[in-house]
Protein backbone atom coordinates (compact mmCIF):
# COMPACT_ATOMS: atom_id res chain seq x y z
CA UNK A 1 0.00 0.00 0.00
CA UNK A 2 1.40 3.43 -0.95
CA UNK A 3 1.08 6.08 1.75
CA UNK A 4 1.06 9.82 1.10
CA UNK A 5 3.13 10.76 4.13
CA UNK A 6 5.80 8.92 6.10
CA UNK A 7 6.70 11.71 8.53
CA UNK A 8 6.04 9.56 11.59
CA UNK A 9 7.23 6.23 10.18
CA UNK A 10 10.15 4.37 11.74
CA UNK A 11 13.13 3.35 9.64
CA UNK A 12 12.07 -0.31 9.30
CA UNK A 13 8.74 0.77 7.85
CA UNK A 14 10.50 3.17 5.48
CA UNK A 15 12.90 0.48 4.29
CA UNK A 16 10.10 -2.06 3.79
CA UNK A 17 7.95 0.42 1.86
CA UNK A 18 10.95 1.50 -0.26
CA UNK A 19 11.66 -2.12 -1.12
CA UNK A 20 8.06 -2.41 -2.29
CA UNK A 21 8.77 0.43 -4.71
CA UNK A 22 7.14 3.24 -2.71
CA UNK A 23 9.04 6.36 -3.82
CA UNK A 24 7.43 8.50 -1.08
CA UNK A 25 8.96 6.27 1.57
CA UNK A 26 12.37 6.53 -0.03
CA UNK A 27 11.88 10.29 -0.35
CA UNK A 28 11.39 10.42 3.42
CA UNK A 29 14.69 8.53 3.91
CA UNK A 30 16.40 11.12 1.68
CA UNK A 31 14.91 14.01 3.68
CA UNK A 32 15.91 12.48 7.03
CA UNK A 33 19.50 11.69 6.11
CA UNK A 34 20.43 14.26 3.46
CA UNK A 35 22.06 16.60 5.97
CA UNK A 36 24.14 13.79 7.41
CA UNK A 37 25.31 12.79 3.91
CA UNK A 38 25.97 16.45 3.04
CA UNK A 39 28.26 16.82 6.05
CA UNK A 40 30.30 13.80 5.02
CA UNK A 41 30.43 14.53 1.31
CA UNK A 42 30.92 18.29 1.51
CA UNK A 43 33.27 18.00 4.46
CA UNK A 44 35.45 15.65 2.44
CA UNK A 45 35.11 17.09 -1.07
CA UNK A 46 34.47 20.76 -0.39
CA UNK A 47 31.26 22.71 -0.85
CA UNK A 48 30.64 22.33 -4.58
CA UNK A 49 28.10 21.11 -7.12
CA UNK A 50 30.25 18.00 -7.60
CA UNK A 51 29.67 17.15 -3.95
CA UNK A 52 25.93 17.41 -4.56
CA UNK A 53 26.21 14.96 -7.46
CA UNK A 54 28.05 12.51 -5.22
CA UNK A 55 25.30 13.04 -2.61
CA UNK A 56 22.70 12.01 -5.18
CA UNK A 57 24.75 8.98 -6.13
CA UNK A 58 24.95 7.97 -2.47
CA UNK A 59 21.15 7.79 -2.27
CA UNK A 60 20.82 6.02 -5.64
CA UNK A 61 23.38 3.51 -4.44
CA UNK A 62 21.45 3.14 -1.19
CA UNK A 63 18.22 2.48 -3.11
CA UNK A 64 19.91 -0.22 -5.19
CA UNK A 65 21.52 -1.85 -2.16
CA UNK A 66 18.46 -1.72 0.12
CA UNK A 67 17.63 -5.41 -0.57
CA UNK A 68 21.00 -6.25 1.04
CA UNK A 69 20.27 -4.17 4.17
CA UNK A 70 19.53 -6.72 6.91
CA UNK A 71 18.98 -4.25 9.72
CA UNK A 72 22.01 -5.47 11.71
CA UNK A 73 23.38 -1.92 11.84
CA UNK A 74 21.33 1.27 12.08
CA UNK A 75 20.16 2.67 8.74
CA UNK A 76 22.11 5.87 9.46
CA UNK A 77 25.34 3.86 9.90
CA UNK A 78 24.63 1.97 6.68
CA UNK A 79 24.07 5.22 4.76
CA UNK A 80 27.12 6.82 6.35
CA UNK A 81 29.28 3.89 5.20
CA UNK A 82 28.02 4.25 1.63
CA UNK A 83 28.72 8.01 1.77
CA UNK A 84 32.24 7.48 3.15
CA UNK A 85 33.12 4.81 0.57
CA UNK A 86 31.78 6.83 -2.35
CA UNK A 87 33.55 9.98 -1.16
CA UNK A 88 36.88 8.19 -0.75
CA UNK A 89 36.45 6.63 -4.21
CA UNK A 90 35.80 10.09 -5.64
CA UNK A 91 38.92 11.48 -3.93
CA UNK A 92 41.00 8.66 -5.42
CA UNK A 93 39.44 9.23 -8.83
CA UNK A 94 40.25 12.95 -8.64
CA UNK A 95 43.78 12.22 -7.52
CA UNK A 96 44.32 9.99 -10.54
CA UNK A 97 42.71 12.55 -12.86
CA UNK A 98 44.68 15.54 -11.56
CA UNK A 99 47.94 13.64 -11.45
CA UNK A 100 47.60 13.33 -15.22
CA UNK A 101 47.54 17.10 -15.69
CA UNK A 102 49.24 18.60 -12.69
CA UNK A 103 51.97 17.88 -10.20
CA UNK A 104 50.22 20.00 -7.57
CA UNK A 105 47.35 17.68 -6.58
CA UNK A 106 43.72 18.43 -5.89
CA UNK A 107 44.23 21.12 -3.24
CA UNK A 108 44.47 23.49 -6.18
CA UNK A 109 40.76 23.02 -6.73
CA UNK A 110 40.03 24.67 -3.46
CA UNK A 111 39.64 28.25 -4.68
CA UNK A 112 36.98 27.07 -7.08
CA UNK A 113 35.18 24.96 -4.51
CA UNK A 114 34.78 27.52 -1.75
CA UNK A 115 32.29 30.06 -2.95
CA UNK A 116 29.03 31.72 -2.23
CA UNK A 117 29.13 32.45 1.51
CA UNK A 118 26.72 34.91 3.07
CA UNK A 119 28.22 37.15 5.72
CA UNK A 120 31.87 38.10 5.98
CA UNK A 121 32.26 36.60 9.43
CA UNK A 122 30.64 33.30 8.56
CA UNK A 123 32.61 33.20 5.36
CA UNK A 124 35.83 33.51 7.25
CA UNK A 125 34.86 30.77 9.73
CA UNK A 126 33.62 28.47 6.96
CA UNK A 127 36.73 29.07 4.91
CA UNK A 128 39.00 28.22 7.81
CA UNK A 129 37.12 24.93 8.29
CA UNK A 130 37.08 24.17 4.57
CA UNK A 131 40.71 25.05 3.90
CA UNK A 132 41.89 23.11 6.95
CA UNK A 133 39.90 20.02 5.91
CA UNK A 134 40.89 20.19 2.24
CA UNK A 135 44.58 20.44 3.10
CA UNK A 136 44.48 17.32 5.27
CA UNK A 137 45.39 13.86 4.13
CA UNK A 138 42.06 12.14 3.19
CA UNK A 139 42.56 9.32 5.70
CA UNK A 140 42.89 11.88 8.51
CA UNK A 141 40.26 14.19 6.99
CA UNK A 142 37.59 11.50 7.17
CA UNK A 143 38.20 10.96 10.88
CA UNK A 144 38.17 14.68 11.66
CA UNK A 145 35.01 15.12 9.55
CA UNK A 146 33.26 12.34 11.45
CA UNK A 147 34.14 13.89 14.79
CA UNK A 148 33.99 17.59 14.02
CA UNK A 149 30.98 17.80 11.73
CA UNK A 150 28.97 14.81 12.95
CA UNK A 151 30.05 14.80 16.57
CA UNK A 152 30.76 11.05 16.58
CA UNK A 153 32.86 9.52 19.36
CA UNK A 154 36.02 7.57 18.48
CA UNK A 155 34.09 4.32 18.99
CA UNK A 156 31.29 5.41 16.64
CA UNK A 157 33.86 6.64 14.10
CA UNK A 158 35.62 3.26 14.22
CA UNK A 159 32.30 1.47 13.72
CA UNK A 160 31.30 3.59 10.72
CA UNK A 161 34.71 3.43 9.05
CA UNK A 162 34.98 -0.27 9.90
CA UNK A 163 38.42 0.30 11.40
CA UNK A 164 39.87 -0.98 14.69
CA UNK A 165 39.57 1.54 17.52
CA UNK A 166 43.37 1.62 17.90
CA UNK A 167 43.77 2.65 14.26
CA UNK A 168 41.26 5.47 14.69
CA UNK A 169 43.04 6.70 17.82
CA UNK A 170 46.47 6.66 16.18
CA UNK A 171 45.15 8.41 13.07
CA UNK A 172 43.42 10.94 15.27
CA UNK A 173 46.65 11.83 17.01
CA UNK A 174 48.45 12.18 13.66
CA UNK A 175 45.49 14.19 12.33
CA UNK A 176 45.81 16.55 15.28
CA UNK A 177 49.47 17.20 14.46
CA UNK A 178 48.70 17.78 10.80
CA UNK A 179 45.77 20.04 11.63
CA UNK A 180 47.94 22.08 14.00
CA UNK A 181 50.53 22.64 11.24
CA UNK A 182 47.82 23.63 8.75
CA UNK A 183 46.06 26.01 11.14
CA UNK A 184 49.31 27.74 12.11
CA UNK A 185 49.84 28.69 8.47
CA UNK A 186 46.29 30.03 8.00
Amino acid sequence: MIKESYNAADENELVKASLNGDKNAFGEIVVRYQKMVARTVKGMLGDSVFAEDIGQEVFINLYNSLPEFRGEAKLSTYIQRIAVNMTLNEINRRKRFFSLFSQKGNNEMYEFEVADRDTENRREASEIVNIALMKMDPKFRIIVTMRMLHGYSTKETAEILELPLGTVLSRLSRAQKQLKDILEKL
Binding site: A38, I60, R122, H150, L183
Partner: protein, 117 residues
Amino acid sequence: MNPSEIKKLLLSSASSDTDTRDVARRLEEEGISFDFSNGFRDKVLNNLVSSGLVIKHEMEFVKNMNFAFYRIALTGVAAIVVLLISIFLMEGSLSLNSFLGLSDSYNESIVCLITGN
Protein backbone atom coordinates in the same frame (compact mmCIF):
# COMPACT_ATOMS: atom_id res chain seq x y z
CA MET B 1 33.53 33.50 17.19
CA ASN B 2 36.83 34.90 15.91
CA PRO B 3 39.26 32.93 13.69
CA SER B 4 41.55 31.93 16.56
CA GLU B 5 38.58 30.49 18.50
CA ILE B 6 37.48 28.56 15.41
CA LYS B 7 40.99 27.19 15.03
CA LYS B 8 41.05 26.16 18.69
CA LEU B 9 37.69 24.44 18.27
CA LEU B 10 38.90 22.60 15.16
CA LEU B 11 42.00 21.43 16.90
CA SER B 12 40.03 20.23 19.90
CA SER B 13 37.84 18.08 17.62
CA ALA B 14 40.94 16.04 16.74
CA SER B 15 41.58 15.26 20.40
CA SER B 16 40.19 11.97 21.69
CA ASP B 17 39.18 13.54 25.03
CA THR B 18 36.88 16.20 23.55
CA ASP B 19 33.09 16.04 23.61
CA THR B 20 32.70 16.17 19.85
CA ARG B 21 28.93 16.61 19.97
CA ASP B 22 29.54 19.98 21.55
CA VAL B 23 32.05 20.89 18.80
CA ALA B 24 29.57 19.98 16.06
CA ARG B 25 26.82 21.97 17.80
CA ARG B 26 29.01 25.06 18.24
CA LEU B 27 30.13 24.96 14.60
CA GLU B 28 26.52 24.73 13.51
CA GLU B 29 25.67 27.72 15.69
CA GLU B 30 28.42 29.62 13.88
CA GLY B 31 26.67 28.89 10.59
CA ILE B 32 29.19 26.26 9.54
CA SER B 33 26.75 23.65 8.43
CA PHE B 34 26.53 21.58 5.32
CA ASP B 35 23.40 20.73 3.39
CA PHE B 36 22.38 20.13 -0.19
CA SER B 37 20.43 22.65 -2.24
CA ASN B 38 16.64 22.92 -2.20
CA GLY B 39 14.83 20.22 -4.14
CA PHE B 40 17.55 17.65 -3.45
CA ARG B 41 14.95 14.99 -2.62
CA ASP B 42 13.17 15.51 -5.96
CA LYS B 43 16.45 15.38 -7.88
CA VAL B 44 17.29 12.04 -6.24
CA LEU B 45 13.83 10.62 -6.95
CA ASN B 46 13.97 11.79 -10.60
CA ASN B 47 17.39 10.19 -11.02
CA LEU B 48 16.03 7.06 -9.42
CA VAL B 49 13.19 6.87 -11.95
CA SER B 50 15.52 7.41 -14.92
CA SER B 51 18.15 4.95 -13.66
CA GLY B 52 15.32 2.49 -12.96
CA LEU B 53 14.15 2.83 -16.58
CA VAL B 54 17.66 2.14 -17.87
CA ILE B 55 17.87 -0.98 -15.70
CA LYS B 56 14.41 -2.05 -16.91
CA HIS B 57 15.43 -1.61 -20.57
CA GLU B 58 18.66 -3.53 -19.96
CA MET B 59 16.74 -6.32 -18.26
CA GLU B 60 14.27 -6.53 -21.16
CA PHE B 61 17.16 -6.76 -23.62
CA VAL B 62 18.80 -9.57 -21.63
CA LYS B 63 15.45 -11.35 -21.36
CA ASN B 64 14.93 -11.12 -25.15
CA MET B 65 18.45 -12.36 -25.78
CA ASN B 66 17.89 -15.32 -23.47
CA PHE B 67 14.62 -16.13 -25.20
CA ALA B 68 16.26 -15.92 -28.65
CA PHE B 69 19.19 -18.06 -27.48
CA TYR B 70 16.92 -20.77 -26.10
CA ARG B 71 14.85 -20.80 -29.31
CA ILE B 72 18.00 -21.13 -31.45
CA ALA B 73 19.71 -23.60 -29.12
CA LEU B 74 16.64 -25.85 -28.83
CA THR B 75 16.12 -25.85 -32.60
CA GLY B 76 19.81 -26.72 -33.06
CA VAL B 77 19.66 -29.59 -30.57
CA ALA B 78 16.50 -30.95 -32.25
CA ALA B 79 18.20 -30.79 -35.68
CA ILE B 80 21.27 -32.66 -34.37
CA VAL B 81 19.08 -35.41 -32.85
CA VAL B 82 17.14 -35.83 -36.13
CA LEU B 83 20.44 -35.98 -38.04
CA LEU B 84 21.85 -38.67 -35.70
CA ILE B 85 18.68 -40.78 -36.01
CA SER B 86 18.67 -40.48 -39.79
CA ILE B 87 22.38 -41.46 -39.99
CA PHE B 88 21.76 -44.44 -37.74
CA LEU B 89 18.77 -45.57 -39.80
CA MET B 90 20.59 -45.16 -43.12
CA GLU B 91 24.06 -46.42 -42.17
CA GLY B 92 23.20 -48.80 -39.34
CA SER B 93 25.79 -47.34 -36.99
CA LEU B 94 27.06 -44.06 -35.58
CA SER B 95 30.75 -44.55 -36.41
CA LEU B 96 32.97 -41.80 -37.80
CA ASN B 97 32.77 -43.30 -41.30
CA SER B 98 28.98 -43.21 -41.09
CA PHE B 99 29.14 -39.54 -40.24
CA LEU B 100 31.47 -38.87 -43.15
CA GLY B 101 29.32 -40.94 -45.52
CA LEU B 102 32.21 -43.39 -46.13
CA SER B 103 30.89 -46.51 -44.43
CA ASP B 104 30.28 -48.36 -47.74
CA SER B 105 33.52 -47.29 -49.43
CA TYR B 106 36.75 -49.29 -49.63
CA ASN B 107 40.12 -47.67 -49.05
CA GLU B 108 41.00 -47.89 -52.77
CA SER B 109 37.87 -46.13 -53.88
CA ILE B 110 38.55 -43.37 -51.34
CA VAL B 111 42.07 -42.89 -52.78
CA CYS B 112 40.53 -42.73 -56.26
CA LEU B 113 37.99 -40.26 -55.01
CA ILE B 114 40.68 -37.99 -53.54
CA THR B 115 43.36 -38.23 -56.22
CA GLY B 116 41.02 -38.54 -59.25
CA ASN B 117 42.97 -41.55 -60.66
